[in-house]
């Protein structure tokens, strides 16, 4: 808890960060922390878990071009956990904050320019904290953290994880899927390949019974299409229910 306050303090003291951005992550983190403290989910809109629309709206608020924010999300995330002998454990009542920071970080990473120095800074900070064979078993945000870990060290260390028990609330699932489309796109641009754990995510999600929402299906098919070398029209040029791809 005190760590989160410290991180927020650091963020607030950083003059380079625009106030609106700080507010966004602060609001989200505080919402998460309050949920933990009160042991009951805080109202967000009219629902206990933000709707898909609210997730995206929230993201719009914190969708920052300034890549330094990715470092801040990482700072928040690192503040929530400890590592001892490769075993990663989350601090008490840090689950929601960790989840929020992980989602933000995962969402922000594809937006970071791979040639910028920020990438090196983030990478150094990450590998300085997490050993390559870190064990995330037992974390409430196991899949989110594993996805981040795979992005940072996966290619060099052939880190892979499955999605066998991944059953999030539909809103988080859809938000995560949407984020992984960006990850897949960026990965293909950088490495020429989509990470196999994102394909595994698509496979796992499409296999849900009953089938997931149409939006989620579209995102999963987008991940597959990106791996097959198709280009997908950027959001805004088509309506969400249109599925245009260029082979």
């Amino acid at each position: 808890m005190s760590r989160i306050h410290l991180q927020l303090k650091q963020i607030s003291g950083n003059p380079n960060i625009m106030e609106s951005h700080f507010k966004s992550i602060a609001i989200w983190s505080l919402w998460a922390i309050q949920s933990e403290i009160s042991n009951k989910p805080q109202q967000f809109g009219n629902q206990s878990c933000p709707t898909h629309h609210e997730w995206l709206e929230l993201w719009d608020q914190i969708h920052i071009r300034n890549p330094t924010l990715a470092i801040i999300y990482l700072d928040v995330l690192l503040g929530c956990i400890t590592v001892k002998n490769n075993q990663v454990t989350e601090g008490p009542k840090m689950g929601q904050a960790m989840r929020a920071a992980s989602l933000c970080l995962l969402r922000a990473l594809p937006g970071v320019d791979p040639t910028s120095e920020v990438v090196n800074d983030i990478h150094k900070k990450y590998i300085g904290f997490f050993p390559p064979y870190a064990n995330f078993n037992g974390l409430s945000s196991y899949y989110l953290i594993s996805a981040i870990h795979a992005l940072f060290i996966g290619r060099q260390n052939r880190y892979f994880f499955g999605w066998m028990d991944y059953k999030p609330c539909p809103q988080e699932h859809a938000f995560f899927a949407n984020t992984l489309v960006q990850v897949a796109h960026k990965a293909r641009d950088c490495w020429g390949k989509v990470p196999r754990w994102t394909l595994c995510f698509a496979l796992h999600s499409l296999a849900f019974d009953p089938p997931p929402s149409t939006l989620l299906i579209v995102d999963c098919l987008s991940i597959i299409a990106i791996d097959m070398g198709c280009d997908i029209l950027s959001p805004g040029t088509v309506t969400p229910d249109e599925r245009y791809v260029y082979a």
Partner: protein, 331 residues
């Protein structure tokens, strides 16, 4: 149209292709067949290049083979089953529900093709073979027409599979198995060749097996006839074939044909020998005054006895002692 020639591209995309399978299955359930057809076509192209789907498909296949799922969903699993990586998946627990679904489903040519292809693939893996229920082998008797590129037929000619089929002690199934794997599209696994010749000599020799041998010879003639058409002709349907394959197949199937023809010859010799021996016996009987017009005559070699049904329906049984060309009768 996906071509097998794009092997590298196909392999690099096999995970993405696999990830589409649940969606194709969903579409099929909604009555839209195009997606599943395209998926299966792509999976077949993968198979032509000796690749399978991604092993991560295991959980989904297990879920759709579940007892509670509708038959239409199981049909999807059956059709995709030849393309699954049985050897690399954790497959043991999938075989029983797969076999149950295969035996329960309404048979068509496409379904039979998929089942037999899968059956032979699974049987060729010695760790998976014990999980196959014996009843599933009876589907071989349906004689589905397997495609030129068929992993099951290719892997199904191993010694282990042949032994498993022989262990069933069912000649019809054994014959059906041989008719399926003898093909101009695949040579036999080296070790299976000798075992196969031995099997033919043991299992299909003797009087009363002529119709089986005729069917087997007919298939071998067909295969050898196709091989005589040359590599160019066959490559139109299976581009991976080369001159060595053709040479090897001609050798193997030629050997098998020779074995069958030899058995036929031996059988004819036996048949032609019998009347002469009988003639000797009856000549002797006549000389001894024991002969009466027989209705039917049987000669048993083990124990060596002569059995004659006479006109008054009485039986004449006599042990035969035959050594150094000397025949002794004990009336």
């Amino acid at each position: 149209m996906v071509e097998a020639a794009d092997a590298d591209l196909l392999y690099s995309r096999h995970k993405a292709i696999t990830a589409l399978f649940p969606y194709a299955a969903q579409q099929e359930q909604s009555g839209e067949h195009e997606m599943l057809n395209t998926f299966l076509q792509t999976a077949r192209a993968l198979q032509q290049s000796r690749f399978t789907l991604w092993h991560r498909i295991e959980l989904f296949v297990a879920s759709i083979l579940n007892v509670a799922r509708p038959a239409s969903m199981k049909l999807v699993a059956i059709l995709a089953s030849p393309h699954l990586p049985w050897a690399t998946m954790n497959s043991e627990h999938l075989i029983e529900p797969w076999a149950a679904a295969a035996l329960a489903i309404t048979y068509t040519d496409n379904i039979g093709q998929a089942i037999v292809d899968t059956l032979l693939q699974v049987a060729s893996d010695h760790s998976l073979q014990p999980f196959l229920p014996p009843g599933i082998w009876s589907l071989l008797k349906k004689h589905p027409l397997l495609p030129p590129a068929c992993m099951g037929r290719c892997q199904g000619s191993t010694q282990g599979v042949l032994q498993a089929v022989r262990a069933l002690e069912n000649l019809e199934i054994l014959k059906s198995y041989l008719l399926l794997i003898w093909s101009e599209w695949d040579h036999l696994f080296c070790y299976a060749g000798g075992e196969m010749c031995a099997s033919i000599r043991t299992d299909f020799s003797g009087i009363g097996m002529e119709h089986h041998r005729k069917d087997l010879l007919q298939q071998l003639d067909l295969v050898l006839g196709q091989l005589d058409l040359g590599l160019g002709h066959l490559q139109q349907h299976k581009s991976s074939l080369d001159e060595f394959d053709i040479w090897l197949m001609k050798e193997q199937y030629g050997d098998l044909k020779e074995v069958l023809l030899n058995i036929d010859k031996e059988t004819i010799n036996t048949l032609t020998r019998k009347p002469s021996r009988l003639a000797i016996i009856f000549s002797l009987l006549t000389l001894l005054g024991k002969y009466r017009n027989p209705l039917k005559v049987y000669m048993c070699t083990s124990p060596p006895v002569l059995l004659a049904v006479l006109l008054d329906h009485s039986l004449f049984i006599s042990p035969i002692h035959n050594s150094s060309h000397q025949l002794t009768l004990y009336p």
